[in-house]
């Protein structure tokens, strides 16, 4: 059953990733994103129904959820035929990460979860959702810097190979961070409450996450614009990478 959802969803994402390479197939790519995301949603729903507790507590499981959040964010904020190059940036990455999640066992169900209680489920869920938002923000910030550079260099192909306008990239980056920060705040707060309840100490991953929270907090408080905003979004994402990859496995 899960394979019947995983592979078609992966084919949808893969098809979108390939189709975005040509302007002629943009509509086909959009359908690939839609169908793939709906199938992955169904996959997550089945996983949730079959697992006792939080079903995405492994690295591969969290990657599965993470891909769903990133593609969902892209689908609702940036999936426009005229912004083909944005799709070309997001969908190949999503397809590869989803495949890795599948190969790592993150799309299976029915195993016992480490995160049986509500506190931990919310903690992991909120933090992952926030990280997905920050990833999307970083991708958009990267595209902002690329488009800004093309404008600065007066690239002749700027209207032929279109990226979203600077104002749109800046606005959506800011929105993604503004929505994700409260999620991270909630996830962190829940985790810290549990930490103090159990009398456990602060580890490197918690310190790095708080550092990321400070960077994004500064972003929301200062409301930077232009290149400064893009650099801040990328700086925050560098911390997210440290948390998700470098320090993965050091938490408890």
């Amino acid at each position: 059953m899960l394979d019947l959802l995983f592979w078609p969803a992966l084919i949808g994402y893969g098809e979108a990733a390939v189709a975005y390479s040509s302007a002629r197939f943009t509509r086909l790519a959009t359908w690939g994103v839609r169908v793939g995301w709906l199938l992955q949603t169904a996959l997550l729903a089945v996983q949730a129904a079959r697992t006792d507790g939080f079903p995405w507590d492994t690295w591969a499981g969290s990657l599965n959820l993470f891909v769903w959040l990133v593609v969902g964010g892209y689908l609702f904020w940036g999936c426009r035929p005229r912004y083909r190059l944005l799709g070309l940036a997001v969908m190949p990455l999503a397809a590869v990460l989803f495949l890795v999640a599948g190969l790592g066992g993150g799309t299976e169900a029915g195993k016992d979860s480490h995160y049986g209680n509500l506190f931990l489920t919310l903690h992991v869920g909120f933090v992952l959702a926030a990280f997905a938002g920050f990833t999307l923000a970083a991708a958009l910030a990267g595209l902002y810097l690329i488009e800004e550079r093309r404008l600065q260099r007066r690239s002749a192909d700027i209207l032929r190979l279109k990226l979203p306008p600077l104002a749109t990239l800046e606005r959506v980056t800011s929105t993604a961070i503004t929505i994700s920060l409260p999620l991270l705040t909630a996830g962190l707060a829940i985790g810290l409450v549990r930490l103090f309840d159990h009398g456990e100490g602060v580890d490197a991953l918690i310190v790095a996450t708080i550092l990321g929270w400070l960077v994004y907090g500064a972003f929301v408080a200062l409301r930077p614009t232009g290149r400064t905003a893009a650099y801040m979004a990328l700086a925050g994402f560098a911390v997210v990478i440290v948390v998700r990859i470098v320090l993965a496995g050091t938490h408890f």
């Binding site: 302007a23 002629r24 488009e147 404008l151 600065q152 007066r154 002749a156 192909d157 700027i158 209207l159 032929r160 279109k162 990226l163 979203p164 306008p165 600077l166 104002a167 749109t168 606005r171 614009t225 232009g226 290149r227």
Partner: protein
């Protein structure tokens, strides 16, 4: 019924000749009605007469009367599928100076709607209009700007997204500046200020865009209030320098400098959040987008071929469809006459016999009908139709 076309266009005739033959819309409609079952498409790049029937001699004569000279060496004549393909390419924008330009589709539509046409021209023009829309929706041929003013507006959109509510400062009141301002205005930008050495010209242009005319001295103070600066003066030195710009800005400022010599100091482009495009940059962008349009034109040509095939099939069917219809009518007539000879039958028996005879008829005529249509596509349609009429005695039924 044959489709004929006679015309001249920018491919074969110089502008001096085209402008003599170019007709205002009312006169073009009048000419089409005078010729009867004809459409006159007259734009600055072409004047073409599409006619039902083989009447191209008369059409050419009419054009020559308008031109006041013989057109035999420059006018083209086409018939049937060639004429249809030409019209399809015209409506798709493939025969235009700028591939994919969209204005021609509206002109073809207006010419068609202004004329009184029979089934042949009705069919070919409806196909042409559908194809024109299809080409623009299924290819990217018309998406990129093809002129400097539209490229300037499209670049501003790359910075600001939607231009609605964006404020523009127009420096200079020349024709090119006005065109570029019109292009920005058409995309929703507000022309806020107009500055010019001549206060009268500034006031006149400001009135056209509902903008505020400014004194030359007030130019620098307004740079912080606008999003786009469009410069097109003939001043010999820079009229906007980097030091004129406010040092603290939170929003981007986009400069379009279409003046030669340039109006805006290139150092402006080095400032954070400032983007300056001069005429060379804009022309390079247009050249690139035209390359893209030409690539898309190859896809559009394939759509033209598809449409031409459909037209050919339809035209071929015209030769055999009346013969098929006559044959079926004759068969039905015989069936009805024989059924009338039947004596007293119950209602159920009558229905059964009617159903069986109708099925027999359909099965018998199915294969000849299919073969006739196939023959029509292979250009044997007329011969088959004649044979059918002769064999079944359908001559009187035509």
């Amino acid at each position: 019924l044959r489709l004929s076309l006679v015309g001249i266009s920018h491919h074969v005739a110089p502008v001096e000749l085209r402008e003599r033959v170019a007709l205002p819309f009312d006169r073009a409609v009048e000419l089409a009605r005078k010729l009867g079952d004809a459409v006159c498409l007259s734009t600055c790049n072409r004047t073409e007469l599409y006619l039902a029937g083989e009447r191209d001699d008369r059409a050419l004569q009419t054009l020559e009367e308008i031109a006041g000279e013989p057109l035999g060496r420059v006018a083209y004549r086409m018939h049937d599928e060639a004429a249809a393909v030409h019209l399809f390419r015209v409506s798709a924008g493939l025969d235009s100076m700028v591939p994919g330009e969209s204005e021609i589709l509206g002109q073809v539509k207006a010419a068609y709607e202004g004329a009184t046409v029979g089934p042949l021209l009705d069919r070919v023009f409806r196909q042409a209009l559908q194809l024109g829309k299809r080409v623009r929706s299924e290819t990217a041929i018309g998406e990129s700007p093809a002129s400097v003013p539209s490229a300037a507006a499209a670049l501003a959109e790359q910075v600001f997204g939607d231009l609605a509510g964006r404020r523009v400062l127009l420096i200079g009141a020349g024709r090119i500046g006005e065109l570029a301002a019109g292009s920005l205005s058409a995309r929703g930008a507000a022309i806020a200020y107009v500055v010019n050495r001549s206060a009268d010209a500034a006031a006149a242009l400001a009135g056209r865009f509902n903008a505020e005319p400014l004194e030359w001295e007030g130019l620098a103070s307004r740079l912080g209030e606008v999003d786009v600066v469009l410069a097109s003066t003939s001043a010999p030195e820079f009229v906007v320098r980097a030091e004129d710009l406010p040092s603290r800005r939170r929003k981007p400022l986009f400069f379009i400098d279409i003046a030669v010599p340039r109006d805006v100091d290139p150092a402006v482009h080095e400032l954070d959040g400032c983007y300056l495009y001069d005429i060379d940059d804009l022309e390079a962008v247009v050249a690139e987008t035209l390359t893209g349009r030409r690539k898309e034109a190859a896809t559009a040509e394939r759509l033209v071929v598809e449409e031409a095939t459909r037209f050919r099939e339809w035209q071929a069917s015209l030769e055999v469809v009346p013969a098929i219809a006559s044959l079926r009518a004759r068969a039905e007539e015989i069936r009805a006459a024989e059924l009338a000879k039947l004596g007293n039958l119950s209602e159920e028996e009558r229905r059964t016999i009617e159903s069986v005879t109708a099925q027999m008829l359909n099965k018998l005529l199915h294969l000849p009908t299919v073969r006739m249509k196939e023959a029509a596509l292979a250009a044997d349609g007329a011969a088959y139709a004649a044979a059918l009429r002769h064999l079944f005695g359908l001559e009187d039924k035509r």
